[in-house]
Amino acid sequence: MGDNTLTRAWLALLGLSVGSAVLTLLPVPAAVMGGGILLLALIKTRVILAQYLDLARSPAWLRGFTMVLTGFSVLIFALYLV
């Protein structure tokens, strides 16, 4: 894992965090805001798993973690919408 890859991951995480903050300020329906925030959080978890935790070198594990976290996010979103 090189310096540049980690730096790009860090910048992506900061950018996604700013994206979440901006989303909370926009006049959008609650479902769009909630779904958008959870999607951005899900992408952030994938960046951390792939780059910080180096699962980019283990695609099967990265896929497995992503699937479970996606299922979790969908469940949270469903409970949010009820």
Partner: protein, 182 residues
């Protein structure tokens, strides 16, 4: 691919991954319970959530991902024999963990000043339980990062950084659920 080779694909120690998965499951169950109880009083949960300091918590997200970046860089630098840089990165990561705890402590103090405690509303019971348990992990992580900056074998740093990234992962999911989904 056999099971053994699949397990061998995991970076670092298998036991650290067992710990990471266990922690994610515990916090995940807590967040699902939080969202489930919210169904009984969505308006009350939204009102309670409005007392939280979102900006401080969002800033803490930037603090943790930056700290995680330093921990990941530390492992890379130790592997390419830049030992001093690795140690400094680990100490920097630990210091950012302390910044996280100071901001969290300020948030708790502010709630106490408003007379808000875990009995005020079920929202705050979950808020204190989940963020408090996470803060305890941050505190432990700060100690681990300082420990591996001292005993700086690459395997030690890898295990310490993995623990820290787990703390980061939990916060990335906890922050939107507790602070934003009102």
């Amino acid at each position: 691919m056999s099971d053994a080779s699949l397990i061998d694909e995991l970076p670092g120690e298998l036991l650290m991954w067992v710990l990471i998965v266990s922690e994610l499951l515990v916090f995940g169950a807590g967040m699902i319970a939080f969202m489930g109880v919210r169904l009984t009083d969505p308006a009350g949960f939204a009102e309670a959530q409005s007392h939280l300091h979102r900006t401080g918590a969002a800033f803490n997200t930037a603090v943790l991902v930056t700290s995680g970046y330093l921990a990941a860089q530390a492992l890379h630098w130790r592997q390419v024999a830049r030992r001093a840089a690795a140690r400094m990165a680990l100490i920097g990561a630990a210091l950012l963990g302390v910044v996280f705890l100071i901001i969290k402590g300020t948030e708790y103090a502010d709630k106490m000043a408003q007379g808000i405690n875990y009995e005020t509303h079920p929202f705050f019971l979950f808020y204190y339980l989940l963020t408090g348990f996470h803060a305890a992990h941050v505190l432990a992580g700060v100690g681990i990062l300082l420990l591996v900056s001292w005993r700086d074998d690459a395997r030690n740093i890898e295990a310490g950084a993995q623990f820290w990234h787990m703390v980061d992962l939990v916060w990335i999911m906890l922050f939107p659920v507790i602070y934003l989904l009102g």
